[in-house]
């Protein structure tokens, strides 16, 4: 079930909301009257209902992996309790065992195919024969990267003694909570479990509905009206063997750059909005990343919850910047390489991660040598260009295609202009340039794609983001700092004008929802 589907919007969500607040009302009434075991159970009923609904949501994709999710949750919860109850070396051994178990699960489901295929490819290269191992064809359970990382953080914090006593039902809900389960944000137990246990969230509040609905509509519009319209511009350019020419490559790569942002940040907005309907705030995941002036800032703005996880549980665990510059660079490279592999089991993701690691190292070295640039525009433009180049590897089906598209950006596949522009040939000839007028094969120039691409660039680079629009009403767990007086008229208020505007946007999204498309981040 997708957030941008009719079954979710008009059946699942209303039923889950109604059940949650009905049980919430019963829980609040019970809490006021007595304190026995039955009352305790009633108090937990809203969270239990939401957890069951979340498991149903997960099972809707593929019920075969529901036992895997439940086993992972149960074992990690028990593991966390045991770690918390142990001391000394036993505590450390318990943590290592639990971490290994999680990593083994991830390795099998996410990386076994990649490993076998890579070994077979190497063997084939070495002796020209067939692969040595049979193909495994392990199917990737959706969301496994997210629920595994979430629980690794829980285990580590149990080891560090940073976890207070939690009920199993709240832990189950924390891991399986449907707004984030499939594609994040990566949640932290410290932020979430107290909210699940808070009886105030069991009471329907108009403010939460107003803010949640509005943020959800923004996310839905990002996905349905922008990202899905950009998809046809990118899809054919990244196909194997497409060999795009210069203009096609630029449009295709730019389209993917902005499609990914609007798709993923749209999903995050929808998750934040949906969760707010239940009175639960989620962490911020995007903060206008394409406005970043350097790569480090980009990672503080892009998929922020994952960046924090990688920083807190990988980079710092590797030593961070504690042992000199060389070790710091090594740690940066390793963190980004593993971050790349987390996104997907393939060499393209390894190269993508390595590129970002390299960018961070170069930026760090540059800043040491020349200081932080205060120039107005080129640092942001250069950052966006570097990010865009890396996205080619992130999106391409294989390295050969990625290199081809990269070359095409610089004219390696030639330049072909639309046939209709053939009349300009004499003008170009005057500049000693004789391009071909063989037409644009992979881009539909007449469709809505190109105007939407321009709009997407304008919105991503110049407009306030969702959190800035709703900043007066604390849309997320964190508060983001905003320059004073900036874009005051774009600040959301619960007025009739905003309400009508969002209702119209919602109707427009519904009109665009007949082509239901998956979110790009579901594959990770």
């Amino acid at each position: 079930m997708l957030f941008n589907s009719f079954s979710f919007l008009f059946f699942y969500l209303p039923i889950v909301l109604a059940g949650y607040f009905l049980l919430g009302r019963l829980a609040l009434a019970a809490a006021a009257t007595s304190t026995d075991t039955a009352t305790t159970l009633r108090r937990l009923a809203p969270a239990a209902w939401l957890a069951c609904a979340s498991l149903f949501f997960y099972g809707w994709w593929d019920v075969r992996y529901l036992p895997l999710l439940l086993a992972s949750i149960s074992i990690n919860y028990a593991g966390g309790r045991l770690i918390g109850a142990s001391t000394g070396a036993a505590r450390r051994r318990m943590l290592i065992a639990a971490l290994l178990l999680n990593l083994a699960l991830l390795a099998w489901y996410k990386y076994a195919n990649f490993f076998v295929d890579s070994v077979n490819a190497l063997a084939a290269m070495a002796d020209g024969g067939r692969g040595v191992w049979p193909s495994l064809d392990v199917v990737l359970p959706i969301g496994i990267s997210f629920f595994t990382f979430t629980q690794i953080a829980f285990l580590v914090d149990c080891y560090r003694g940073e976890v207070r006593e939690y009920r199993f039902i709240h832990y189950l809900l924390f891991v399986s909570y449907f707004p984030h389960l499939i594609a994040g944000p990566v949640l932290h137990h410290r932020d979430m479990m107290p909210q699940f246990a808070d009886p105030a969230s069991h009471r329907p509040q108009a403010a939460n509905f107003a803010i949640g609905l509005s943020i959800f509509v923004v996310g839905l519009a990002k996905k349905v009206l922008i990202a899905d319209t950009l998809s046809p511009l990118a899809l054919p350019v990244f196909a194997t063997g497409a060999q795009p020419t210069l203009i096609e490559a630029w449009i295709g790569v730019l389209a993917y750059t902005f499609q990914l942002y609007f798709d993923f940040s749209g999903y995050s907005d929808m998750a934040i909005g949906l969760s707010r309907l239940f009175g639960v705030k989620l962490p911020l995941n995007f903060n206008s990343p394409y406005k970043a002036c350097n790569i480090a800032e980009f990672w503080r703005r892009w998929h922020m919850t994952l960046s924090r996880f990688l920083r807190d549980y990988l980079y710092i665990a590797l030593g961070g910047s504690r042992h000199g510059e060389a070790r710091r660079y090594r740690n940066l490279l390793l963190t980004m390489l593993l971050g790349g592999l987390w996104h997907g089991a393939g060499w393209t993701f390894v190269v993508w991660g390595a590129l970002h690691g390299l960018y961070l190292v170069v930026q760090s070295g540059w800043q040491r040598a020349f200081g932080v640039s205060t120039a107005r525009w080129w640092p942001a433009a250069l950052t966006l260009f570097a990010v865009m180049l890396a996205w080619i590897f992130f999106r391409a089906p294989d390295l050969v295609t990625a290199w081809n598209i990269l070359g095409a950006l610089f004219g390696a596949n030639g330049v072909s202009l639309p046939r209709g522009a053939a009349g300009l040939a004499p003008l170009f000839a005057g500049w000693a340039w004789q391009p071909a007028f063989d037409g644009i094969r992979w881009i539909q120039l007449a469709g809505p794609g190109l105007p939407v691409l321009l709009l997407a660039m304008l919105l991503a680079l110049r407009a306030p983001n969702t959190q800035e629009i709703f900043s007066h009403y604390q849309p997320c767990i964190e508060t983001i700092l905003q320059r004073r007086g900036q874009l005051q008229r774009w600040q959301w208020r619960p007025t009739r004008r905003w309400s009508m505007g969002f209702a119209a946007l919602f109707v427009l999204c519904i009109f665009g929802m007949n082509r239901v498309t998956e979110f790009l981040y579901f594959q990770f």
């Binding site: 803010i211 009403y473 619960p494 209702a503 919602f506």
Partner: protein, 401 residues
């Protein structure tokens, strides 16, 4: 948010809900009632309404109609069958209800879904299924079959009503509803539903005219035929399972598979693209499949109308033929006079030329394939210009009709 905001917030939510719900309800009701694409019409005067050449969402209308009409005879396939086989076939199927459930752009995967759907929702005695090698792959077709449209399950009409409401909440349908109400919607030809599933010849003729005539449509159609990914083993496996399912669904089902009589040049396209051996293997697989199911008591037969016979070898406009061909709209779509000959060969009736249509069995196959090869080589020798034309068009960039 402070307490002073609470009334404003409540009215915000109420207004949002009211405006969105009212807008969606009005649009859904309007589109559902006007139904510009005939998504849920059968036995309705709306079927006679003239419409533009391009029949949008015809798969929706046909899957609904077949459930309402519940025909005894159904045709399955892609646009070749949809255009070529007339449901007005009383001489072949006297007293029986006939419906052409073939859909333009259907891959074999789509056609299998349509066949299973027809068997589920109707009482099929006879199924006539047009096949061809290039479209015999599991690649998604362009028939517009959407998730849920052909799913098995109870309460078909309830599920379908929900799907129709969902589909009615779209911009394109709303625009076409408004065009229809304002009288600016095209009025060129009749819906295929008005002709029991066969495409209105006026639509086809208008379309061909729009492309610049039969001659202009030849090259793109031949290129399109050669570009198909089939036949593939995966499609054969799925097809085998579907035939098995159909045989199990009814003990008295007559299943007639036929290879479409596309123009002889389409065979040359396969030959020069190095696909001839694949095509012959596929013919053999179909013959073996039919034989196996016959031995299990299922009435399955397969005929081949393709190749180089007196129908498929008609001269094309570029080489001495008329501006319009007698048997073909263009290279890959035959007219319904050919369709009548197909039905005559399969079920008896009006005469078809002796060389048109051969039943494929493990016994007849070697001789048939030998004859096809000989006819191909003879044609290449006797029609060098046509042969060179085919070879040349395969070197050209892909053209759109």
């Amino acid at each position: 948010m402070d307490a002073a905001d609470q009334p404003r917030v409540r009215s915000y939510v109420t207004l949002f809900g009211a405006v969105a719900a009212a807008a969606l309800a009005i649009v859904a009701a309007l589109n559902y009632l006007v139904d510009p694409y005939l998504l849920h019409q059968w036995d309705s005067p709306l079927l006679q309404r003239l419409r533009p050449t391009h029949e949008k969402l015809s798969v929706w209308g046909k899957t609904y109609a077949v459930a309402r009409y519940r025909p005894a005879v159904v045709y399955i396939g892609n646009s070749r069958t949809e255009m070529g086989l007339s449901a007005d076939a009383d001489e072949v199927f006297p007293g029986q209800s006939v419906f052409n459930s073939a859909v333009s752009g259907a891959s074999i995967g789509d056609a299998m879904q349509l066949a299973r759907h027809a068997a589920r929702v109707s009482r099929i005695d006879t199924m006539v299924w047009g096949l061809d090698a290039p479209s015999f792959s599991m690649e998604p077709g362009s028939a517009g079959i959407e998730p849920g449209l052909l799913e098995a399950g109870p309460a078909f009409f309830v599920r379908r009503a929900l799907l129709n409401i969902k589909r009615s909440l779209t911009l394109d349908m709303t625009q076409d509803t408004l065009r229809l109400l304002s009288g600016s919607y095209g009025q060129i030809c009749r819906s295929s539903l008005a002709l029991y599933g066969q495409r209105d010849q006026r639509c086809v003729s208008d379309r061909i005219h729009g492309w610049g005539g039969t001659a202009k449509a030849m090259i793109p159609r031949l290129q399109e035929f050669g570009a198909g990914a089939g036949p593939t083993p995966r499609a054969l496996q799925a097809f085998d399972a579907t035939v098995g399912e159909l045989c199990r669904s009814s003990t008295h089902l007559r299943l007639r598979l036929y290879i479409n009589p596309t123009h002889a040049m389409t065979m040359d396209v396969l030959y020069y693209r190095g696909r001839w051996a694949d095509m012959e293997r596929w013919q053999g697989d179909l013959a073996a499949l039919a034989e196996r199911y016959r031995q299990q008591g299922c009435d399955v037969r397969v005929h081949d109308f393709s190749g180089f016979n007196s129908i498929t070898s008609e001269a094309i406009p570029q080489f001495g033929g008329g501006r319009e061909m007698q048997y073909y709209w263009e290279a890959s779509h035959y007219r319904d006079n050919v369709g009548r000959m197909i039905l005559a060969r399969l079920f008896g009736g009006e005469a078809a030329p002796d060389d048109f249509g051969v039943e494929l069995t493990p016994t007849t196959l070697p001789a048939h394939q030998q004859a096809m090869r000989a006819a191909r080589d003879a044609r290449h020798a006797s029609h060098p210009q046509q042969t060179a034309f085919v070879q040349h068009l395969l070197t050209l960039p892909r053209q759109q009709p």
